[in-house]
């Protein structure tokens, strides 16, 4: 048994990393969007492996089912750049090279500083009630405020798009 969980972890981690790399490296943006979906799916698998099944399936529901489709939709409506066209800003590549190591160090440092000191072991399938309690009782007010904020953003977006329509 001892080697199965790490083995699954390695496979899922490879899927996540490969998906992430494909998002950046694939020439076509549709391919990037799909690889992002794959990467999200691998991440959902990692959550499930940690015993956080509810979060895993919300990950699939929201990120794979909604966000990826939304991005594909956006890609299809914006049209394809002609081959060879370079639409990058002049500093875009350099900024990327500068930011990636910084972020990598930051993420790794955060992970090692926080997660490995926590000793809370999650029972499989037991994260539904803690999650519900957190969202609807302990942090109900921030949750509602965030939803009102999102609603305001949505209405603002509709107002911007609809301007001068009628």
């Amino acid at each position: 048994m001892d080697f199965i969980a790490p083995l699954i972890f390695v496979i899922l981690a490879a899927i996540v990393v490969a998906g992430g790399l494909a998002v950046v490296l694939l020439p076509r943006i549709t391919g990037s969007a799909l690889s992002m979906g794959l990467s999200f799916l691998g991440m959902a698998g990692l959550f499930a492996l940690l015993g956080a099944e509810t979060i895993a399936f919300f990950q699939v529901l929201i990120y794979v089912g909604a966000i990826t489709v939304l991005i594909l939709y956006g890609v299809m409506l914006t049209g394809v750049a002609p081959a060879g066209a370079d639409r990058r800003l002049f500093f875009q590549k350099q900024a990327g090279w500068a930011l990636v190591p910084l972020k990598f160090v930051g993420v790794v440092a955060t992970v090692f500083a926080l997660s490995f000191q926590s000793n809370v072991v999650q029972q499989p399938g037991g994260d539904l009630e803690p999650l519900a309690n957190a969202v609807f009782r302990d942090y109900a007010f921030p949750f509602e405020v965030a939803s009102v904020l999102l609603l305001a953003a949505m209405i603002g977006a509709i107002a911007l798009v609809k301007r001068g329509d009628d």
């Binding site: 549709t30 099944e53 509810t54 489709v69 594909l72 299809m76």
Partner: protein, 391 residues
């Protein structure tokens, strides 16, 4: 059932490690067999029912009473040459059927056929089914895009819009049932409806909205716009042929119909509950299958009866009728559930739900008629205004 992550030795002294793999293989083969046979059976059923409704004979050449017709069709599809237009996007075109097919197969894991006859009884079964239902859209969009065909692209985008819109009332109707049952676990929801205390009688409005949304989610008439042949040839299926087409249309569509019918059976019709199940639990499979097929026949009946929606009608119906209705239902159900003590909340929710159903049936045609009258009125005045100078 053992908790996940613990190895159990298999029957006949099979090594636990081998049994893990073997069990998976058996389960997958069983599910794929069920899906194939279900699709074959349902297509035959659909064709026969359609034929009877239209006063025809239906398939009758192959086998006695045409029973083997769909088997012959399936063999033909598998034997067909795998044709692909040169200008399609190879990788995406070939993977798209798989992307819609796999979530459908995965959904079978949690369907409770009978007590103990279930892949895995996770406590968030309903969430699992919803999230897998959301994944199928991806394949359809990709198929539409990769076909490099305008009809396919429009079909795929339409389908994505439709599926994402109708997911909202679908999940909101599910939440209403979850509120009443107090669990996302499918077996618990099924056992929370003993005898004739079915959710169908307590939450008919939620059933109605889920039923309509499920018709839309599975691309059945009157919501089969993505493949509206009069406008879009065959929508996202236009460039597909052979077994790729078969995977898309026959297997995925009928598999999804079976899954939403199973969800309805579990949530509103009491799942496997029926006479004599307590004595012989395996009878549950029979009752479950019967209930599922009653709903599938209802789906087919609707297909025979109703014409197809127009795209603007489809969106209007979802956002202006179904979502307000489900939101009202959810809000009132939650309030009553909290406000009233145990037996009275069910009665109050039941009365209210039947009221909502009555309002839906009475008010919607009236509103529609009024809207049409106003539209005609506006057209008339506009015509008069434009014709006035020339006259």
């Amino acid at each position: 059932m053992s908790p996940p992550g613990v190895l159990v030795p298999g029957p006949f002294g099979i090594d636990p490690l081998v049994w893990v793999v073997l069990r998976l293989l058996i389960a997958v083969l069983l599910v794929v067999g069920l899906i194939f046979n279900g699709a074959l059976l349902q297509i035959l059923m659909e064709r026969k029912l359609q034929a009877w409704a239209q006063d025809r004979v239906g398939p009758y050449h192959v086998g006695p009473w045409g029973l083997l017709q769909t088997f012959a069709d399936a063999l033909k599809l598998i034997g067909k040459e795998d044709v692909r237009s040169r200008f399609t996007d190879a990788a995406f075109f070939l993977t798209a059927p798989a992307i819609t097919f796999t979530p459908m197969v995965a959904a079978w894991v949690v369907i409770p056929f009978a007590p103990g006859v279930q892949g895995i009884d996770i406590n968030i079964g309903l969430l699992y089914l919803s999230s897998l239902g959301a994944m199928g859209v991806l394949g359809i969009v990709i198929a539409g895009w990769a076909s490099n065909n305008k009809y396919s692209l429009i079909g795929g985008l339409r389908s994505a819009g439709q599926l994402i819109s109708y997911e909202v009332p679908q999940i909101l109707s599910l939440v209403t049932v979850v509120l009443l049952a107090g669990s996302l676990q499918l077996t618990k929801i099924a056992t929370a409806q003993p005898g004739l205390q079915l959710n169908l009688f307590i939450l008919p409005a939620a059933f109605l909205t889920y039923f309509i949304a499920a018709l839309a989610e599975t691309n059945r008439t009157p919501f089969d716009l993505p493949e509206a042949e009069s406008e879009l040839v065959a929508g996202y299926l236009t460039e597909y042929s052979g077994m790729r087409w078969g995977t898309f249309l026959a297997l995925t569509e009928y598999g999804n119909v079976t899954i939403v019918s199973s969800i309805m059976t579990t949530l509103w019709l009491g799942g496997w509950n029926g006479p004599l199940v307590d004595q012989a639990p395996i009878l549950g499979v029979l009752w479950f299958t019967l209930k599922v097929y009653v709903i599938i026949v209802a789906f087919m009946w609707i297909r025979l009866t109703l014409p197809r929606f127009r795209i603007d009608q489809l969106m209007n119906f979802c956002w202006k009728v179904l979502i307000p209705l489900t939101l009202t239902n959810l809000f009132v159900t939650a309030t009553l559930k909290v406000a009233l003590p145990a037996p009275w909340d069910l009665i109050a929710i039941g009365i209210l739900n039947w009221g909502l159903v009555a309002a839906f049936i009475v008010l919607i045609p009236r509103l529609q008629r009024r809207r049409l009258e106003r539209l005609r009125e506006r057209l008339r005045t506009e015509r008069e205004r434009t014709l006035a100078p020339t006259a």
